[in-house]
Amino acid sequence: MERGEPLFFCLRKLLLLIMVVGFIAGCATSARNLPQDYSSIDARKRLNVEDFDTAAIELTCSQIDDELKILEHDYALQAQDIEGKRVQNQVAGYLGAIFILPALLATDNSAQAKAKIENINRAKDQLYKLRTFKKCPSNSGR
């Protein structure tokens, strides 16, 4: 029993460390849900003009693709921001959990970047829908 105790405390500390780092390092966010099927041969709903606002319906296919490129660039910036903070958080998490507690204050859960990504994804979905409605040529490289 005596020999087992140090290992027990060691494991407890390890578990605590994992929990602390897990909380501050930022959780994975799930991929957004797939859109409703509106273009296969079995689709129960078809897209129509009422599904889009007037400004959107005026866009040409190349304008839609330009908008998507801008959104993809913004997405990459936000993802880079989250990734950078994740590494910083892990380092701060280890230091905070093992040596210096105030190091935990240096963590950031990227809530703002995640919210921006959410908005970008919503806008991308709307543009994908518009591409389908306008029958813009498929771009399998995207």
Partner: protein, 129 residues
């Protein structure tokens, strides 16, 4: 001491694999998701992956695929979109799909079972003649 050695040994064994993955397929139709026979299954490399819809060909939906790629230990590199695409292709190939459309990704982060997890979703389709 022996327990610690066992723990270290166990960790070393699992760290031999950089990533592991999980997947699920959900049928869209009422009949559920068909699984293609061996002859109908495609090679994963032949499957088109796209974030948009395919508008110039008629297609039928086979199912919605969800995959998650996890890194094995904290010391491995984070999973990438390419690895997610690879898993989507594998699952789509089993269904006999020609393409996976509307592909979307989550962001890498800590999940309940992994130090680095990235998930992806897509709709497996088959082109009609």
């Amino acid at each position: 001491m022996r327990r610690i050695m066992l723990l270290i040994g166990g960790l070393l064994m699992v760290s031999a694999c950089a990533t592991w993955s999980t997947s699920s397929v959900q049928g869209v139709g009422d009949s559920g998701t068909p699984v293609a026979s061996k002859a109908e299954q495609k090679s994963p490399q032949d499957i088109v992956i796209t974030e948009t819809d395919i508008t110039d060909r008629k297609y039928k939906v086979l199912g919605d695929i969800a995959v998650t790629v996890n890194k094995t230990t904290i010391f491995h590199s984070d999973p990438t979109k390419e690895q997610v695409n690879e898993e989507l292709r594998k699952e789509a190939a089993k269904l006999g799909a020609d393409a996976v459309i509307f592909v979307r990704y989550g962001t890498v982060g800590i999940a309940f079972t992994s130090w680095g997890s990235l998930d992806g979703k897509g709709r497996a389709i088959v082109f009609l003649p």
